[in-house]
């Protein structure tokens, strides 16, 4: 045997050993796995909901929050459209009103948001300062420009109340739940091969999520990723206005810092909540808001630190305009951060915002929390990054950055989620079904093995060895990436085995043809392989194309199916062509068989 053959043998044996090691943690129950292997291969095959059960989560979508949010946006449009109504701005410029004009409009016709009857009615109130302007408003005007609103009272009066239309409210509730479902599914898909079940029930305003598996340690992380709203906003920090008067006497534990710009800060375990309830009581002007972000810990005052930021309320750029996000590292400190790309609209808005705010600070606000507030050095375009604050240790930061990327890529939830119910559930299929399924898989594989050995004799035995190796590599890969295995998945594996022998069949048939032409075993094997390669590659590659597309565009179960398909193609190509050749070569060159019995 030449050196090339030994080299190939090493690859085959090495891959097989690697496959076994990756699989080992999954079969720990039957074959105790040493800790060192477990550390190297953290993942294992995740039994599916039908086999093992898992975690059942129920979330209520806070639909009213979504409706309030929509109402707020509509209110802003109403304010602008009022400018057209009273003749201050021409119709075409309604989307492009500068601040001074807006103030002028507000003086003659002020639009406010009102919550009536507890929180049940989300209303918009227009207050005109003179009769003449008030006469201009009519029911048709409202109908023409705002199909979500109806006039509740006061046409022609100075004060007009607009309510959201009932049928639109019903639509919005449905939209909020559907969008949440989509976002949650995307987030879990981004996490990898978990094959969750996500069921939305718009009528009840809730979402049921079932996550397979037994690893309770990962449930916490999944839960926090699911329920994170992930609203990203870029707001300018107002460091010029005097905000001192806003901060009325702070309670104990909250300190006012008045170096250059006044802000409140707090330290210790409950600092964040403490600070949050304090700022809720403060009289902040309508066009501003106070937000909270991390502050360097103060060893004297103890624990983590939090501070307030005084921000302009307008968020010109939001996470909606995000195109992509990825984990990056700060070039100087090497600390993990999140890099993002804006789409065209976002880039141009970001350019405008940063271009006119050079020297000011821009707060990157994620879910009402200021992640960082760097000074704008120059105009920024499509790319940006979110530093996560240097107040956590590196591993925490890295985890945080990864999770943030998952949620940013999947998009924001339209409304916050409230956990309603959480249960660990048993398998959906009975023990007997699972046992029968496993038995069927074994019988199926065995039948294939026997058939091949009888039909192709030596060639069949080679194929059988490859089937077993293929099975081991397939399961090893699944274990290595922590794939979820359901009972239909078991059937799919058995079928893959049936299909994977195709490569062996093609090759053996070719060797047979060559032998019939009177070639020696050695050259028949060479020729057989050389000729069969193209069929094997073409047929597998075409299937792989379908697999890649399904993996890229599919979601949930389709994605899971595509993953299995691709792994199967990879392992059967490897075993069917590369590994089987090593065995055949040994037969015809090492063992020098005079007659190659391939049936």
């Amino acid at each position: 045997m030449d050196r090339g053959w030994y080299f190939r043998l090493v690859i085959v044996v090495g891959t097989s050993a690697l496959g076994f090691l990756a699989l080992w943690p999954s079969v720990d129950r039957w074959l105790p796995c040493p800790d060192i292997v477990k550390e190297a291969f953290e993942n294992q095959i995740n039994p599916g909901l039908d086999i093992k059960g898992g975690l059942r989560l129920m979330y209520e979508v806070e639909v009213d929050e979504y409706i309030r949010d929509r109402r707020d946006r509509i209110a802003e449009q109403v304010q602008r459209q009022c400018g057209v109504l009273i003749g201050i701005v021409p119709e075409e410029e309604v989307d492009d009103i500068d601040k001074a004009t807006l103030t002028a409009i507000q003086q003659r016709c002020k639009v406010e948001r009102v919550d009536k009857d507890g929180d049940a009615v989300r209303a918009i109130r227009i207050t005109f300062s003179n009769e003449e302007d008030a006469q201009k408003l009519s029911k048709t005007w409202v109908k023409d420009y705002f199909r979500d609103l109806r006039v509740a009272s006061g046409v022609g009066d100075l004060v007009v109340d607009l309510h959201m239309r009932e049928e639109q409210l019903a639509n919005m509730r449905e939209t909020a739940v559907r969008q949440s479902e989509r976002t949650i599914t995307n987030r879990i898909d981004n996490l990898g091969v978990l094959e969750p079940t996500v069921i939305a029930r718009p009528n009840d305003g809730d979402i049921i999520i079932e996550i397979p598996g037994a690893q309770e340690s990962s449930f916490e992380r999944i839960k926090s990723i699911i329920s994170r709203t992930a609203q990203l906003q870029f707001q300018i920090v107002d460091d010029e206005s005097d905000s001192r008067s806003i901060f009325t006497a702070p309670p104990e534990g909250i300190y006012l810092n008045a170096d250059s710009q006044t802000f409140a800060e707090a330290f210790g375990e409950n600092a964040r909540d403490q600070l949050r309830s304090y700022i809720a009581t403060l009289p902040v002007p309508d066009d501003h808001e106070l937000a909270i972000g991390r502050q360097e810990a103060d060893p004297e005052r103890g624990g983590e630190g939090w501070r307030t930021y005084y921000l302009y309320r307008v968020a010109d750029v939001t996470g909606e305009d995000l195109d992509d996000a990825s984990v990056g590292f700060d070039p100087q400190s090497g600390s993990p951060e999140v890099d993002f790309m804006m789409n065209t609209r976002g880039a141009s808005r970001m350019g405008d915002l940063t271009g006119r705010s050079i020297g000011k600070r821009m707060a990157i606000v994620l879910d009402d929390r200021v992640e960082s507030a760097p000074v704008i050095q120059g105009q920024i375009g499509a790319r940006g990054r979110i530093t996560l604050g240097a107040y956590l240790d590196r591993n925490q930061l890295l985890q945080e950055a990864k999770d943030l990327v998952v949620v940013l890529q999947a998009g924001a939830l339209p409304a916050p989620l409230r956990p309603a119910n959480e249960q660990l559930i048993g398998p959906t299929l009975g023990q007997d079904s699972v046992q029968k399924g496993a038995l069927a898989a074994m019988v199926g594989v065995l039948l294939v093995l026997i058939f091949m050995a009888v039909y192709y004799q030596v060639g069949g035995l080679v194929a059988d060895a490859m089937v077993l190796l293929n099975l081991q590599l397939l399961l090893g890969t699944m274990s290595g990436i922590g794939a979820t295995l359901t009972l239909p998945g078991v059937a799919a594996i058995a079928l893959t085995v049936g299909m994977a022998v195709d490569a062996n069949v093609l090759i053996t048939e070719r060797i047979r043809e060559e032998l019939r032409l009177g070639k020696s075993p050695r050259s028949a094997v060479e020729q057989g392989y050389a000729r069969a390669y193209s069929s094997v590659f073409d047929s597998q590659l075409t299937t792989a194309i379908a697999g890649i597309v399904l993996w890229q565009f599919g979601t949930g179960p389709i994605k899971g199916f595509a993953t299995m398909l691709l792994i199967g193609i990879g392992t059967s190509l490897f075993t069917g062509t590369f590994c089987s050749k090593v065995l055949f070569d040994w037969l015809v060159r090492g063992a020098r068989v005079q007659r190659l019995r391939v049936g």
Binding site: A170, R182, L424, G437, G444, V448, I545, T555
Partner: protein, 377 residues
């Protein structure tokens, strides 16, 4: 052992007319079956009723599942709740859906009794066992219950949800869950659950999002496969492979629908597998045709197709056999979902084998005659 004698030559092309006619008829029939009688959608697509029950005596999930199956529920999910012995979440396909006119009648009657502006919103859950009402002003439970019952609803319980000015009621109606519980009571006697802890309509797992994603990815997959085949072989080959692939999936689905087997997410996976198998099978034959086109120069494409298909026949049959062997184990030994998926795969493999011989290559020949010969002459 040899199934097909080496050097055999079969004139497949001679029979392509009748075979394609039969397959075409089957495909048409399958297409029709999608509308009439229409697929029997399982819980994954149609949703169902979910009931949480606490049994009073010791039971096992299997026992409960068996009892439900005996009562005529098809494939109920019986899921134990961890940490709560003898508590189960049961999911069945059945829903107690209210007919549209009944819902309208309810709405009218309620409006007549309570007044025009009182009802802000009235929704009947798709499961038909719950009505959600948003009312302005205070309506007494008694009054509401009487109004609904007068309109023909069988009210089980009323639930007042929020206070303030808006009143939200959840009205639970007598439905599948009550029937199910009483059936269990008959079977389990003392051990049976008192009443349902929770009854809900559970929405489909495979919603619009999944459907959209599936259709989108399928179209892309077809486009990319055609591109690859057109590039690796040539343009004549691309349509045949894809048509054969879709044809196989369609006929399999048709047979499935005609037998009124439950269509679930697993069925979708099976169909995707069949498509993968089909294109694989076709490409192998194509590959031999291409090889022979280079080696044998004095034969027509028709003869080349016959020669190539004959040469590959042994392989085609052996691969189909091995795949059928592993599938048949699941069909005969497996239960429920597994037996169904095995059935679909078995049908698909047989159809796929026939189509790779009689559909894909003949279409290539047709393309050749139609478009390429004309260009040549």
């Amino acid at each position: 052992m040899e199934l097909i004698k080496p050097g055999s030559y079969f004139d497949f092309m001679k029979y392509r007319g009748p075979v394609i006619t039969v397959l075409g008829l089957m495909a048409t029939l399958s297409l029709v079956s999608l509308f009439y009688p229409g697929p029997n959608y399982g819980i994954d697509f149609a949703g169902g009723t979910e009931v949480q029950l606490a049994f009073r005596g010791d039971t096992t999930p299997n026992e409960v599942r068996k009892a439900l199956e005996d009562s005529g529920y098809s494939r109920p999910d019986v899921i134990s709740v961890e940490g709560e012995p003898n508590q189960y979440i049961i999911r069945v396909q059945e829903v107690s859906s209210l007919p549209e006119e009944q819902v309208d009648k309810l709405r009218e009657a309620a409006t007549a009794l309570l007044g025009e502006d009182v009802i802000r919103e009235m929704k009947v859950s798709p499961g038909g066992d719950k009505i959600t009402l948003r009312l302005s002003g205070e309506i007494h439970e008694q009054q509401l219950q009487e109004a609904l019952e007068a309109a023909g609803a069988r009210v089980r319980s009323l639930n007042l949800l929020t206070g303030s000015r808006e009143t939200r009621y959840e009205v639970h109606l007598v439905g599948v869950a009550d029937e199910l519980t009483s059936q269990l009571r008959e079977k389990f006697g003392d051990r049976a659950p008192q009443g349902a802890l929770r009854v809900e309509w559970v929405g489909p797992k495979a919603g619009e999002q999944l459907r959209d994603a599936a259709i989108q990815s399928l179209l892309y997959a077809i486009a990319f496969i055609m591109l690859y085949v057109a590039f690796r072989f040539d343009l004549r080959f691309a349509p045949g492979g894809v048509i054969a692939m879709l044809h196989d999936a369609l006929i399999t689905l048709g047979i499935y629908v005609l037998l009124q087997k439950e269509v679930n997410l697993t069925t979708v996976a099976a169909l995707l597998t069949i498509m993968g198998y089909s294109i694989n099978d076709t490409i192998v034959v194509y590959d031999r045709i291409r090889e022979n086109m280079v080696r044998v120069r004095d034969k027509s494409l028709r003869e080349l197709i016959n020669i190539s298909t004959s040469q590959m026949l042994s392989r085609t049959i052996v691969t189909s056999l091995t795949t059928l062997l592993s599938v048949s184990a699941f069909f005969f030994l497996g239960t429920g979902v597994i037996a169904d998926i095995a059935f679909a795969l078995g049908v698909g493999i047989v159809i796929g084998t026939i189509s790779s011989i009689f559909v894909a290559a003949p279409i290539t020949e047709l393309m050749d005659r139609r478009f390429f010969n004309r260009a040549r002459s």
